[in-house]
């Protein structure tokens, strides 16, 4: 009986240790790009890393945060396990609770907002030239070039052959449906 209790205690301690490690890995930056790849989590937490992440998700829920899984190809959410190793995991806010969570200038955010809405309305991709022309109605060209390059570097946009598309970071951070609804309702 005592032995069973000790085993249970040991397994609980191990689970808590893994939970703490998962939180540290996800909340503190390891690389230039935020987030941790599935295979890194598997190596650090063991085969049951997805179960550990579920536990972490439940714990973060009380703080208004959640673990989000982002695939490089564009899809979101739970899919087959082997694919999870290639996916990126990040912790995001569940709702926009904070009023100001960025030091960006308002016109930079306006440019990002307009660019994303424009690209989403064009089925997720648009030529860079078209985006630049569209933004140039309100912003000087030089600032547009600089901002677009920065959005690409930050992962909000992707670029392939002068075609801009929605980047992994937008998929992780932006509720695209809400953005479009808000723009149309304003």
């Amino acid at each position: 009986m005592e032995e069973a209790a000790a085993r249970e205690e040991e397994s609980r301690t191990r689970a808590e240790r893994k939970l703490k490690k998962a939180a540290q890995l996800l909340l503190f930056r390891q690389h230039r790009v935020p987030g941790v790849k599935g295979w890194e989590l598997k190596r650090a937490l063991g085969e049951d890393y997805l179960a550990v992440l579920e536990l972490l998700n439940a714990a973060l829920d009380n703080l208004g945060m959640e673990v989000k899984r982002i695939s490089e190809e564009g899809s979101e959410g739970a899919e087959q396990e082997e694919k999870a190793e290639r996916d990126r995991f990040v912790v995001v806010l569940k709702s926009p609770a904070v009023e100001k969570a960025s030091g960006e200038r308002i016109d930079t955010i306006a440019m990002l907002s307009a660019t994303l809405a424009y690209i989403i309305s064009k089925q997720g991709k648009a030529s860079r030239k078209a985006v630049e022309e569209f933004l140039s109605a309100k912003f000087p060209k030089q600032r547009i070039f600089f901002a677009l390059d920065r959005f690409i570097k930050q992962g909000y946009l992707g670029e392939d052959n002068n075609v801009l598309y929605i980047g992994w970071r937008t998929r992780a951070e932006v509720d695209r449906k809400t953005l479009l609804d808000l723009i149309l309702a304003t």
Partner: protein, 280 residues
């Protein structure tokens, strides 16, 4: 005869025109249903039996491939229109033009769930920084190795070194031959074990030279990204000739100061373990 040539030219013109239209739809992102797939297929069918030369058959295959892409785009188009994300692009564009930057920013912030990622400086990272500082040569000494006037942003190629008389082709080939012999003697080996040694500088030099062995197909790299393992093995002359000799390959493998330090630490631990075992 002339009539036959003219009709052939007409066939080609018609197919080229359709191909061009398909490509425009793909690149411009216009409505893929503007392409009448059924009619295009009928046109191809009509000419199919008359195709004789390789060029004609290739054109036919090209047209079928383009049509397949258009059908795929049509599928995406339908999915997109039926998804909750669909809004009329013209309406949204008009709305975006009318909104003030503040309004756009407010909408974005309301839809934004930022990633929570904190930078931290740990005592271990500080220690690594300090070690790096100690290992770094004074700036004036390093300046001798890397002279100042090199303003060029392009990477320095072997040809540049030869042209500048810093290195001779013969010297370079000799070093590569030595490296190749060493690899043959050591056989299949962990890449890090092969390039790293006690000095970081010589390790980087060896990694640079090894890249030539791999690019030229004289050595094989096996990469296992999940396990983070990279193995290097020699290729025999026969393998090299039968394989892809003459074709250069590019495989990025990172060589960093941190990785070299970790390797050194690992080697040190291994040696200690060996001493302890032989002692007991």
């Amino acid at each position: 005869m002339r009539q036959q040539g003219q009709s052939k030219q007409l066939k080609f013109d018609e197919i080229f025109r359709l191909l061009h239209f398909c490509r425009t739809v793909e690149t411009e992102g216009t409505d893929p249903f503007d392409v009448d797939v059924k009619r295009f297929l009928q046109t191809l069918k009509q000419y199919q039996k008359k195709w004789r030369s390789l060029d004609e058959l290739l054109l036919d295959a090209d047209a079928i491939a383009e049509l397949a892409k258009i059908i795929e785009l049509q599928e995406h188009w339908i999915k997109d229109r039926s998804s909750s994300f669909y809004v009329d692009p013209a309406l949204l564009e008009l709305k975006l033009r009318l909104l003030e930057p503040q309004q756009l920013a407010t909408a974005f912030l309301a839809a934004w769930r930022p990633i929570i990622a904190q930078d931290r400086l740990t005592p271990q990272r500080l220690q690594e920084g300090l070690d790096y500082w100690h290992a770094l040569l004074p700036f004036d000494e390093r300046a001798e190795d890397f002279p100042f006037p090199s303003v060029s942003e392009a990477p320095i190629e072997l040809e540049d070194l030869i042209e500048s008389h810093l290195f001779s082709k013969h010297e370079f080939d000799e070093v590569l031959r030595e490296l190749s012999t060493e690899l043959e003697a050591r056989g299949r080996i962990d890449y890090r074990d092969f390039i790293y040694n006690d000095s970081f500088e010589t390790s980087v030099r060896k990694a640079y030279l090894t890249s030539y062995l791999v690019s030229e197909g004289r050595a094989n790299l096996e990469i296992n990204p999940l396990e983070e393992e990279v193995f290097i093995s020699p290729r025999t002359v026969d393998e090299w000739i039968e394989g892809d000799s003459g074709r250069t390959r590019s495989i990025p493998v990172s060589v960093s100061y941190e990785a070299w330090r970790a390797w050194k630490k690992q080697q040190h631990e291994k040696r200690n373990l060996g001493h302890e075992q032989s002692g007991s």
